[in-house]
């Protein structure tokens, strides 16, 4: 546990590396399957949220996708589309994997975008959608599509989403200012004069069974009004 403490201390010494909330960094932010759970015969489309240093954040399709496991279902993927096999085939795979008859079959995919790689699981044999982003607020109001979010410089601006920190994985990421509590449903941003004054704000919400949703907003700091 001393090592855990050391990890906490090291986590507090991350000045030389980009923090996890930093969006101005080459990375795959999220990989989405729509929908993430599909019954036999249904299909799911893959896309991803890609952040590139200096080039902003955008949705994209993977350059390449492969089945990692189980290899018995290698033919379930065509391009960026997953097709759930027949129920009989799924039953065979469940037996092979030691799953219960009603369990969905996890299909683990490898995803590549340029040199960036990721793994993502799509569940076959049942139905579920990606989580909804519910009641997202920024500085006390719900931002509409296309809104440019503004942050008065030198001020804590709060944001929130209706989601449980215990059962969901929530991330607020930004290329403007400094994020605080980026991994809680309640977070805030603070823009200092030395921080980037504009960029993007991204919210990702994951459930614990493969679902993920995201939203992107442009964001900019405004000078603090002089009293």
């Amino acid at each position: 546990m001393k090592l855990a403490l050391l990890a906490v201390l090291l986590a507090a010494c991350t000045g030389d590396v980009d923090p996890k909330w930093q969006l101005d960094h080459d990375r795959i932010v999220a990989v989405r399957a729509t929908p993430p759970h599909i019954p036999s015969g249904a299909t799911s489309q893959l896309d991803l949220l890609l952040a590139m240093k200096g080039a902003g954040t955008s949705s994209a399709v993977p350059d390449r996708a492969i089945v990692v496991s189980p290899m018995l279902l290698a033919d379930a993927l065509t391009g960026n589309t997953v097709t759930a096999p027949s129920q009989d085939r799924l039953a065979e795979v469940r037996t092979e994997l030691g799953l219960a008859a009603t369990d969905p079959v996890p299909l683990q995919l490898g995803i590549a975008s340029g040199t960036l790689t990721a793994v993502k699981t799509v569940y076959l044999g049942d139905s579920a959608d990606n989580p909804a982003l519910v009641n997202v607020t920024f500085d006390g109001t719900q931002p509409a599509d296309g809104d440019i979010l503004t942050v008065p410089a030198g001020t804590d601006v709060h944001m929130s989403v209706d989601a449980s920190d215990a059962t969901m994985i929530i991330n607020w990421l930004s290329s403007c200012g400094t994020m605080h509590d980026f991994d809680l449903h309640n977070a805030y941003i603070h823009v200092q004069p030395g921080d980037p004054q504009s960029g993007e704000l991204v919210l990702t919400v994951r459930d614990l069974v493969g679902g993920v949703s995201w939203e992107i907003w442009p964001i900019a700091a405004t000078p603090t009004p002089t009293p």
Partner: protein, 757 residues
């Protein structure tokens, strides 16, 4: 265990037992030189005529000058020099009578060319039992003993035991403490060595905050460091032993207080009548009072329970009669903190809580009469460890342990054709009951790479109780094969009750006095470390880790206070507990360590000097067929040079240290796991890179004065005075695309004040 009981009425050391025969004294000189001056003898000589050297000391271990040494029944005498030493010619078995005004008469029997020290007691203390410490011979090749005053003189330690240990050759040095015990010996792992306090293990050695030892140096009498080759009375360790002996109260009552930026403590000591002495110590952290003021408000941090600790120690010694001495002692600590990595204290996912507490109470009785001695002890330990990280991960362990221990020692002048024979027979039972409730990721073992932290990962869960009964028996015999050669051989038997394992561990040591000042030591033995580290207790089919240690050493003591020793060692390790491919753990590892160590110490007048160097190479193979790799604590080179000068009110000291950085495993790349929102690192070969070398200079100044009846001492201890901000280790960004150095603090000043009333 490493103190020497000397009965005032028996001034003959245990080894100096033989038949009385003729002595031929020589005249006294300041620089003793052998001379032959035969005198009329009432009986003809019967033993071998030897040039005999010895030393006379007082109850504090200080040499006695001008003591008269003569043969029983003869008038001729020699005098001891300023080092308390004398040289004369005598035949084996002669009885020497040693006299000094104001002191009780001492006797010494000649059994070889070099006699053990003879202690002359004050006339008014005759009948008491006096513990003479710090003059014991070293326990094994490469071992060393440091007393409290020396510990406190070492610059760069702030008077702390953990930091003082780093001056020992063979102890892996780093800018921060390592592992649970804080000490890694000869490149193995922290759990392979044991830290004992008055013969019994303590579960933790240092506090989370401030990295201070749980025992202040003020409550310690001495520290004995045995890097390997320890005797059969020590066990459950496959590398080395560090034994701390608590301080018995002084005869004179005193109270003292000490305060520094980190903590403050009180210690009271004294005697009740002539037979009882006491020492009580208490220490509390102070940094928790300061920390909230110095943490920047902009940090996403809430210290809901500010890191704090409390330490207690006490020791009561009572001389029951001239045969029995009783001791009751205790050491304990409680260390707590809770923080949130956010200002939102409702965010349980960002909570970190830790409480480490233990209390050990030991009752001991020592018996000595004639050739018989016995050490009896009963020690109870209650420890608690609570760790909670986020919403899911936790470990709660409460473990009471009771340990009865007994050792019987008998000495014979002659037995089985051998001389100066010492028999030892001992045993202990360490019976613990562990209450465990844990939910954690798969643990990280020696050499395992750091994985991304998944706060929801509770791969390892257990809730229940486990008995942990360990039993040990040992027997040994030590004897002179020749006046210059002493052999110790023994056998230790450990039974690990939980797994049913029985471990037989033969050990032997040979000590050869090549000259009166030069001693060669050889040691060979088998050692075991039971599977009781981390979650090893949850796997029932594990066996102990094994090591076989071979050590050869030379010790040179040209004069009182000067010692130079060197040793070469080879340790073969097998049955190492490693992680299998399926995530379980098994005894599939093996390894080896070899190295060389040198230690030179100098104590004379106002000077105290220390020079140590160690070379070590420590490798292992985790699974059959895998490539050999370095141990995570392999440190090839470590050099320490320290000097301290004391005159009048001032004490000045400096210490220079230079040592290799530790190995680490570089990350090559990482794959993003979208479902868990973390990166899975892909590493290069284990421990295939090494942190840079580190060097630093530490300085210390002490100033003492009197303020009324209070003796005051203030010290300033500055570590790393030339601001060498070196790399401790490296860490990676969340996606392993960036690497950054975790560096040592450029300078660490420590200020303290001690008052003794």
């Amino acid at each position: 265990m490493r103190t020497y009981l000397v009965a005032a009425t028996l001034l003959v050391s245990a080894d100096a037992l033989a038949q009385p025969v003729e002595v031929t004294p020589v005249p006294a000189t300041d620089q003793p030189a052998p001379a032959v001056a035969p005198t009329a003898a009432p009986t003809p000589p019967s033993g071998e005529l030897l040039e005999v050297a010895g030393r006379v000391i007082d109850k504090f271990g200080q040499p006695i000058r001008n003591a008269k040494v003569g043969m029983e029944g003869f008038d001729a005498q020699v005098k001891t020099d300023r080092g308390g030493r004398f040289v004369l010619e005598a035949r084996v078995g002669a009885t020497l009578i040693i006299e000094k005004d104001g002191l009780e008469v001492g006797l010494a029997l000649v059994n070889g060319p070099v006699l053990d020290d003879t202690v002359l007691l004050d006339l008014d203390t005759v009948g008491e039992q006096i513990e003479v410490q710090g003059e014991a011979p070293i326990a094994a090749p490469g071992a060393a003993i440091v007393d409290r005053k020396e510990l406190q003189r070492i610059p760069g330690t702030g008077g702390d035991i953990v930091k003082a240990l780093t001056i020992m050759p063979g102890v892996v040095n780093l800018q921060i403490p390592l592992g649970y015990s804080g000490v890694v010996i000869r490149g193995s792992s922290p759990q392979d060595s044991k830290i004992l306090v008055d013969d019994f293990e303590i579960p933790v050695l240092f506090h989370n905050i401030g990295f201070r030892a749980v025992l202040p140096a003020e409550s310690i009498a001495s520290l004995e460091y045995i890097p390997g080759g320890f005797d059969v009375s020590f066990g459950r360790a496959s590398s080395g032993i560090v034994e701390l002996t608590t301080r018995a109260g002084d005869e004179k009552a005193s109270e003292q207080a000490e305060i520094s930026v980190i903590d403050g403590g009180l210690l009271v000591q004294g005697s009740i009548g002539k037979k009882t002495r006491y020492m009580f110590g208490f220490r509390r952290s102070l940094i928790d009072l300061i920390l909230p003021q110095i943490i920047p408000a902009s940090l996403d941090l809430s210290l809901t329970t500010v890191p704090s600790y409390y330490d207690e120690q006490f020791r009561i010694d009572h001389v029951l009669n001239d045969r029995w001495k009783l001791t009751l002692s205790s050491v304990g600590t409680i260390d707590t903190f809770e923080l949130y990595a956010t200002k939102d204290t409702e965010a349980k996912s960002k909570r970190f809580f830790n409480r480490t507490a233990f209390a050990r109470v030991t009752g001991a009785a020592k018996y000595h009469e004639g050739p018989w001695s016995a050490n009896l002890a009963l020690s109870g330990l209650v420890s608690q460890f609570v760790f909670e990280f986020g919403e899911y991960q936790k470990i709660h362990i409460t473990q009471p342990t009771i340990t009865p221990r007994a050792e019987l020692i008998h000495t014979d002048k002659e037995a089985l054709g051998l001389k100066n024979v010492e028999w030892r027979l001992g045993g202990d039972s360490q019976i613990g009951r562990s209450y465990i409730d844990l939910a954690l990721p798969r643990e990280r073992r020696e050499g395992d790479t750091q994985q991304a932290r998944d706060p929801r990962d509770i791969t390892r869960t257990f809730s229940g109780k486990i008995w942990l009964p360990d039993f040990a028996q040992w027997a040994s015999i030590a004897a002179n094969l020749d006046p210059k050669i002493r052999f110790t051989g023994g056998m230790r038997l450990d039974e690990i009750g939980r797994t049913g394992e029985v471990a037989i561990q033969p050990r032997g040591k040979l000590e050869v006095k090549l000259t009166p000042t030069l001693t060669a030591r050889l040691s060979e033995g088998a050692y075991r470390r039971p599977p009781e580290f981390q979650s090893e207790v949850l796997t029932s089919n594990l066996n102990s880790e094994r090591s076989t240690q071979s050590i050869i050493g030379l010790g040179y003591e040209p004069r009182e206070g000067t010692r130079v020793q060197g040793s070469l060692y080879y340790t073969d390790r097998s049955n190492l507990i490693t992680t299998n491919a399926d995530g379980s753990i098994g005894n599939n590892g093996r390894g080896k360590t070899y190295g060389a160590e040198m230690l030179a110490t100098y104590r004379s007048g106002p000077w105290f000097g220390w020079l140590s160097y160690s070379y070590s190479h420590s490798t292992r193979v985790d699974q059959p067929g895998e490539a050999e790799r370095l141990f995570s604590y392999d440190q090839p080179h470590s050099l320490n040079a320290a000097a301290s000068w004391q005159k009048g009110r001032w004490q000045l000291g400096g210490r220079f240290q230079v040592y290799s950085g530790l190995p680490y495993t570089p990350a090559k790349s990482a794959v993003f796991d979208n479902d868990r929102n973390l990166y899975i690192p892909i590493y290069d070969a284990t421990n295939s890179a090494r942190a840079p070398i580190h060097h630093q200079l530490d300085l210390r100044v002490d100033y003492s004065w009197h303020s009324g009846p209070v003796a005051m001492t203030a010290f300033l201890d500055v570590q790393n005075v030339y601001l060498n901000e070196s790399v401790v280790t490296y860490f990676y960004s969340y996606d392993y695309s960036q690497k950054a150095a975790f560096k040592s603090l450029p300078i660490i000043p420590s200020i303290g004040l001690r008052g003794v009333l």
